[in-house]
């Protein structure tokens, strides 16, 4: 018999509220199955199980706030017998016991295929405030229950402030600015080759298989990190732990306010096509307010891109315990000098904010230039 513990939810969250038990006692579970959902300031996070077995019983009721590291359920292995009386839930303070989590499998079942109801965090919050039973809401299979659906039920009109998420962002960014001696660099890169490559690739493709230029940013950063690994990893207890794989956090804006940077796993090993699919899946789940605990805690570096409607450049704030964040400004047509001629090119400003405890500006500059270099040869990414 083993206990299934509440996993880490990222640097800025210490607890979450159990909102869904997706497996009933007596049901079999496989390593990697999503067995529960927990609501946090950043949305609903799906919790995966890390072993095979049979769910013996839930130790925590729906609606209970549970600290990181506290037991959520007990799981019976193959040889174990069923327990007569489930153990009393004893939440353990997060500072006395850290959850030990074996590396879960990388393959994720897309959440869209799950049969249970999808409910956005805002809808859930509103329903709770108004005392609405969401089980009574009729929705088509696969349909997400939004705040608007709940409002329709209740006739509620005013939006509640997103103060929880703002507080979480404030806490982690304060910690970053307090603890991390940031230094900043910027570099103007010509994106004409990358943009042409995306246009040519997409010309013969149906919409589901099209690329966005941001996938080339991801791949170029992953490539550059191979040569400059001191920007990829975690700084914990006065020591830098370099990561040998790139879990690239993608800073993603949430509609209605807020920001989250869940990880694209093993970006260095994936080709551009599979990275693009992973990125679409991840952003879709962020938009639905639903992602995996590991996606929030395991990113080793972050990319923040302003997209096509932003401004020239941004200077990121490092997400602890990471040590670097790469920013990409909005690409625009600018005059560039090439072979003594002024020509119009599509350019964007790349920026780096990095941790001086681990690296310095000289290496940072080489890292940024390496990203630029990879963007000049998109076909080999």
């Amino acid at each position: 018999m083993s206990q299934f513990l509440m996993p880490s939810l990222g640097a800025d969250m210490e607890a979450g509220t159990l909102v869904e038990q997706l497996i009933a006692p007596g049901e079999a579970v496989k390593r990697g199955d999503v067995i529960a959902a927990v609501e946090t300031q950043k949305g609903v996070i799906e919790i995966e199980v890390f072993e095979d077995g049979i769910l013996d019983g839930w130790l925590v009721e729906i609606g209970t706030e549970v600290p990181v590291g506290a037991p959520l359920a007990s799981i019976r292995g193959e040889g174990d017998t069923a327990s007569e009386v489930p153990a009393e839930p004893k939440p353990i303070p997060p500072d006395t016991q850290k959850p030990v989590i074996a590396a879960p499998p990388v393959v994720h079942v897309p959440s869209q295929t799950a049969s249970h109801k999808r409910i956005t965090p805002a809808a859930r919050r509103l329903a709770r405030e108004k005392g609405i039973n969401l089980a009574e809401l009729k929705v088509a299979p696969g349909q997400t229950i939004s705040r608007a659906d709940v409002e329709k039920m209740e006739g509620a009109a005013k939006l509640a402030p997103l103060s929880d998420m703002r507080a979480a962002i404030g806490a982690v960014m304060s910690r970053s600015k307090r603890e991390i001696p940031h230094y900043y660099l910027s570099h103007t890169a010509d994106l004409t080759a990358a943009d042409d490559f995306v246009k040519q690739t997409n010309a013969g493709r149906e919409p589901p298989d099209r690329l966005l230029i941001s996938v080339l940013y991801v791949k170029a950063i992953a490539r550059a990190l191979k040569k400059y690994p001191e920007f990829n990893g975690h700084f914990i207890d006065g020591e830098f732990h370099q990561s040998d794989t790139v879990h690239l956090g993608l800073a993603t804006h949430i509609r209605g306010g807020g920001l989250v940077a869940p990880a694209l796993f093993d970006a260095q090993d994936q080709n551009v096509g599979s990275l693009m699919h992973a990125m679409r899946d991840l952003v879709a789940r962020v938009r639905a307010g639903r992602f995996r605990a590991r996606e929030l805690s395991d990113a080793t570096v972050t990319l923040t891109s302003l997209g096509e409607r932003g401004v020239d450049q941004l200077y990121g704030v490092i997400y602890p315990p990471q040590v670097a964040i790469v920013g990409i400004g909005t690409p625009r047509m600018q005059p560039m000098v090439q072979d003594g001629q002024v020509i119009a090119r599509l350019v964007a400003v790349l920026t780096l904010a990095a941790d001086h405890r681990v690296s310095d500006g000289h290496r940072g500059a080489l890292f940024l230039k390496a990203i630029d270099k990879h963007l000049q040869g998109p076909e080999s990414l």
Binding site: R147, A203, P207, I213, R255, M279, R280, G307, E308, R309
Partner: protein, 81 residues
């Protein structure tokens, strides 16, 4: 499909992507991305969904014709008609 039906289909897909923006708040002839505050990923998802619903390829070279709500509706009308 009548123009009304096409319009309803586009509104439904936009509501999936930008549920917080109502049609009464937007300028139908202005840039969709500004009016609905959507990024390039959202726009690609919109094109993917509409391409599937209308059985049309929605080539990237035609994106300029789909930039406003009105433009999108008349583009789909041409394709489906």
């Amino acid at each position: 499909m009548t123009p009304k039906e096409i319009e309803a289909a586009v509104i439904a897909e936009l509501h999936q992507i930008a549920p917080d923006i109502g049609m009464e708040d937007v300028d139908r002839s202005a840039d969709l991305r500004e009016e609905f505050d959507i990024d390039s990923m959202d726009f690609l998802n919109l094109v993917t969904a509409l391409g599937k619903a209308f059985g049309t390829e929605m080539p990237e070279a035609d994106y300029p014709q789909m930039r406003s709500f009105e433009g999108m509706v008349s583009y789909l009308q041409e394709q489906a008609g």
